[in-house]
Subunit: 366 residues, 2 copies
């Protein structure tokens, strides 16, 4: 893997050179991991004029509470105090000229401390250069996402075989998270969502003590973290032998919208076009007002990355971009439906979008 | 609770007025929760010249993944875009004069955006004013910490009644986290640590697939989040019927050090004096080199708050300050011992330090 990370750093270095920056300081944790391959929490990467150095906190702000990640491909240099400030201290204005920092991640206080440690060093903005570099994945990254999705599918599949009626949302969520780890996840990719009855399909629902009842919609959202890569799957089920007519109708509507979005995932498609494909059927059915501001997003080292699939999003999909497609409709007081998949954009010649989360999307009555 | 939050805001407003700031923008999540009583993730609090407003993201960056917290005591105003920028937009240079922001939390990019939205508004640094206000807790906060500690004690007690040999660190950690939630925690206060054999007592250990074996030291660190308040307990046990002589000796040493630290928790004691009381016996026994940079810290809405109990820490303890006391010694290749408690500083007239985590600290052979 070490070559992979060195190649990523070389690409960023080219970008910095083109922008006139002699050095770059990467502080956002997922960006550090992407470029360096790991390191303890709080590590920062200095892409220097001569060499690249990973600086990590000697003590860690929260030593004893959080552990180190996998070994990085760079030598990790333990530093007392703020690693970002120490990194800047390795530079001189004459050697580096300017240092590009991640202004969208660095705090004002750290930025000021960096500026003070090397007077005369010009601080510029690296912007989201690393985040943009992360959008298109290589096949090794996609392999990790594929395994993460398999783990989530397994955990969900096992839950569906168990008795659900009478159990609380909170316990079902914990059970799913335990199963994710059982199947090899480092942990859940994000806090697992289990929503029953009137909660089902609701955005931002946190598992409560409500118990699953006969006739409920049950919506579940979960994902696995496998080697840092995070996927997302969401499904909605009906509890009991026969769904009500309104439940079948709502499910079919959301399913059709989600399929339209999935089918729009071709290289060259605009982010907003995919969103429109998903959103259109729901708006046409009169559910426009309650819809989420976006219907999908990128995944990778973070569960929520670019691109954003939203009405005003600019940009076009490339091959090897993993995204979620996950519309949902919630009817206040009654519940609702949400269906999320993680897919990888592939050219039609390669078979079109690759579905990573393969749990059935038939409406199961459990 | 609404009066409590209003009183906290009034105190901060006085501090701002004294510093000449007409308004303050609070962005750090634990600080927002402390002053406003809750709100969806990403909410910010504007302590304005006329009124206080909680601004929350209309969509939430990660809507659907994370839920809203308990209802705040202020009206939550949904905002499209960055709530911090929108908050600044409510001010004029003439009405506010200057706006104090949390430079240790706010990113450079957000700071710049805030500056751009109201040209002429002077941005000053609020510093850690709210964090300092949070150090001394009121009795309601301490009651939450007490319940959090009870929950952790229960979870740990139940684990000790089960069979441990042959189970992995990872599964024991998950089991503990499930039990925390079973007993009423919102979740774990931090990722649970379970360390066996050569891992035991090691700082920053993450649960692995190593299984508990006869003769192991087993060290466990966990805590509950109860209504946002987080505690910490750490214990070390021996697996099997009879601990080895070196295990008993090491345990007694760490126990004596931890007791010395606990006994130092009186109002007026210097942070560094408590650290020295804990650290001294370990250094005297030749374990100085491997010790953590601090032996305890504050807890509350965050698991790691001020004060820091460390050799160079400045300041003195007050009554009603909850802190951890948790020394540990790790012998590479052999394992080690760590014992953590959460206590509240109380005057001697009130019985001295209040121990919140009451699980026994006898060396149990399990």
């Amino acid at each position: 893997m070490s070559d992979v990370h060195a190649a990523r750093r070389a690409r960023l270095r080219e970008r910095c050179a083109a922008a006139g920056d002699g050095a770059a300081l990467v502080t956002r944790p997922a960006n550090v991991r992407y470029l360096a391959g790991g390191g303890p929490p709080g590590s920062v990467l200095l892409l220097g004029p001569d060499e690249d150095i990973l600086l990590c906190p000697r003590d860690g702000g929260r030593e004893g509470l959080r552990g180190a990640e996998e070994p990085p491909t760079l030598t990790a240099v333990p530093i007392s105090g703020d690693p970002a400030v120490a990194a800047a201290g390795l530079l001189t204005p004459s050697s580096a000229g300017s240092l590009a920092v991640e202004e969208h991640h660095l705090t004002v206080a750290r930025h000021r401390a960096i500026g003070a440690v090397v007077p005369g060093l010009r601080l510029t903005d690296l912007g989201c250069a690393v985040e943009r570099q992360r959008i298109v994945k290589d096949e090794e990254e996609i392999a990790c996402l594929r395994i993460a999705a398999e783990i989530a599918d397994h955990a969900l599949g096992e839950l569906l075989e168990s008795i659900l009626v009478g159990r609380t949302e909170r316990h079902l969520a914990l059970e799913l998270e335990r199963r994710l780890v059982d199947h090899g996840a480092e942990g859940p990719a994000f806090p697992t969502v289990v929503a029953t009855g009137p909660h089902a399909g609701r955005r931002g629902h946190r598992p409560s003590d409500r118990r699953v009842e006969e006739g409920d919609f049950l919506s579940v959202g979960l994902g696995a973290d496998y080697r840092g890569y995070r996927c997302l799957i969401g499904r909605t089920f009906v509890i009991g032998s026969s769904p009500a007519a309104w439940q079948i109708e709502l499910y079919e509507l959301v399913f059709a919208a989600q399929r339209a979005g999935r089918e729009g995932l071709v290289p060259g498609a605009g982010y907003r076009d995919v969103d429109r494909a998903t959103r259109g059927p729901l708006e046409a059915a009169g559910h426009g007002a309650g819809l989420a501001p976006r219907t999908g997003h990128g995944v990778g080292l973070e569960i929520d990355e670019d691109p954003q699939l939203a009405p005003a999003a600019m940009g076009k999909l490339d091959a090897r971009v993993p995204v979620t497609v996950g519309p949902g409709v919630h009817l206040p007081g009654r519940g609702g439906v949400r269906i999320d998949d993680t897919l990888v954009v592939r050219p039609e010649a390669d078979g079109g979008p690759e579905l990573l989360t393969i749990t059935t999307k038939e409406l199961l009555a459990l």
